[in-house]
């Protein structure tokens, strides 16, 4: 469904592979609360279920994240998007793209899928109103050709949500 097909699917490097296997094992032993990894045999694309935290606007709602890993993960950030329907949030576009600095400029190879998930859940949880970003339509229109959010030049201005 998500238009964002394969982001230039180059096979994972050996290092990326090993690291992802470790992350997966760790996830299985100690999954972050509010998330479920939907098991498949594709190490390069994880589908993760997000359950809105209780007491927040998204309580009892379930969404799906799609995480695609580049060949040189973790030197390069994974591509993380919401599968549709994406949650209504001032930083989440209707095509599932997420405006969150750690996914782009502020990525660090010490981060993990698990830490990304926690950041995303925290971003959801701190939202005070369910609405799309103001430039949603323009942005989504721009991405029509299946552009990856990693190619977007993001603008991180709002640190409240």
């Amino acid at each position: 469904m998500s238009s964002s097909g394969a982001p230039s699917h180059k096979a994972l490097s050996k290092i990326a592979c090993k690291r992802l296997q470790k992350e997966l094992v760790e996830w299985q032993m100690n999954p972050p609360t509010g998330f479920k990894h939907k098991v498949n045999d594709n190490l390069q694309r994880w589908i993760i279920e997000v359950i809105g935290a209780p007491g927040t606007l998204y309580a009892n709602e379930t969404y799906q994240l799609q995480v695609d890993f580049p060949e040189h993960y973790p030197m390069e950030s994974p591509q993380v998007i919401f599968l549709l329907p994406a949650p209504l949030h001032p930083h989440i576009y209707s095509n599932g793209h997420i405006c969150l600095d750690i996914l782009y400029d502020s990525w660090s190879p010490a981060m993990t899928v698990s830490s990304i998930c926690i950041s995303i859940l925290s971003m959801l949880s701190s939202s005070t109103e369910k609405q799309r970003p103001t430039d949603n339509d323009r942005y989504v229109q721009n991405c029509k050709n299946g552009r990856s959010p990693k190619e977007t030049r993001w603008w991180f201005h709002d640190d409240k949500v």
Partner: protein, 227 residues
């Protein structure tokens, strides 16, 4: 789910994913660090991993873990007992040239203790003796004395200071049930930290000279007060 298991085996398999095993893993590749290197902020990496991140991927020279500034010349290599150079760069990132790991910065060797008339065993024993024999209390006083004198030069500190010479003397007085009471300088040099790190107020040989100067100053002040 497997609670029972994990409590029973606590440190091995089930909890294996917890800290004990991860302490020496690179923060980038999550493997046992190869050519390990530590940043000033204390984070461990493989040298090839860190180099590659800082020079080929990152836009800033930041520690991937805590974002502290990282400078190549301030990195500290860890030399364990393992093989020294397993030309690791070819291993972890084939096809990529990674320069040699920065070398450790090596301060000069410690200068040998000034005078050491006795063989090691004896002097060690002696040190130990000081440590045991209430070396501690007088030390504390010494320190306080020094400190307040440095801060103030006020009356109370003057008093402290006067006191200062005393317990020290007591210290040297008591310890030498052994013949060489006089060699305090030499002996203070010796401990090299295997004793109490609190070996008397100063482990420096210049201490005695300093003390003398302070005593003179103290006497002057005292005389001045009398006038």
């Amino acid at each position: 789910m497997e609670k029972g298991e994990s409590t029973s085996t606590s440190y091995s398999d089930t909890n294996g994913s917890n800290e004990p095993d991860h302490d020496f893993e690179c923060n980038i590749c999550f493997e046992l660090a190869q050519d390990p290197i530590v940043t000033l902020c204390g984070h461990l990496f493989c040298w090839p991993c860190l180099y590659r991140w800082l020079h080929h991927h990152s836009h800033s020279q930041e520690c991937p873990v805590c974002k502290a500034l990282v400078q190549d010349d301030k990195l500290v290599p860890l030399y364990g007992r393992g093989k020294n150079q397993t030309d690791p760069r070819t291993k972890r990132y084939p096809g990529m040239r990674i320069p040699n790991r920065p070398a450790g910065q090596r301060p000069e060797t410690a200068s040998p203790p000034p005078q050491q008339p006795q063989n090691d065993a004896a002097s060690n024993f002696f040190n130990y003796g000081i440590g045991l024999m209430g070396g501690f209390m007088p030390m504390a006083t010494t320190r306080i004395g020094n400190f307040s004198f440095g801060v103030g030069g006020l009356l109370p500190s003057l008093f402290n200071f006067q006191f200062h010479g005393f317990p020290d003397a007591a210290l040297y007085g008591t310890a030498p049930g052994y013949p060489f009471g006089g060699y305090h300088n030499g002996f203070r040099g010796v401990p090299g930290g295997n004793n109490e790190p609190t070996t008397p107020g100063g482990g420096h040989p210049s201490d005695a000279a300093l003390k003398n100067i302070l005593i003179v100053v103290g006497i002057c002040v005292f005389l001045f007060l009398l006038l």
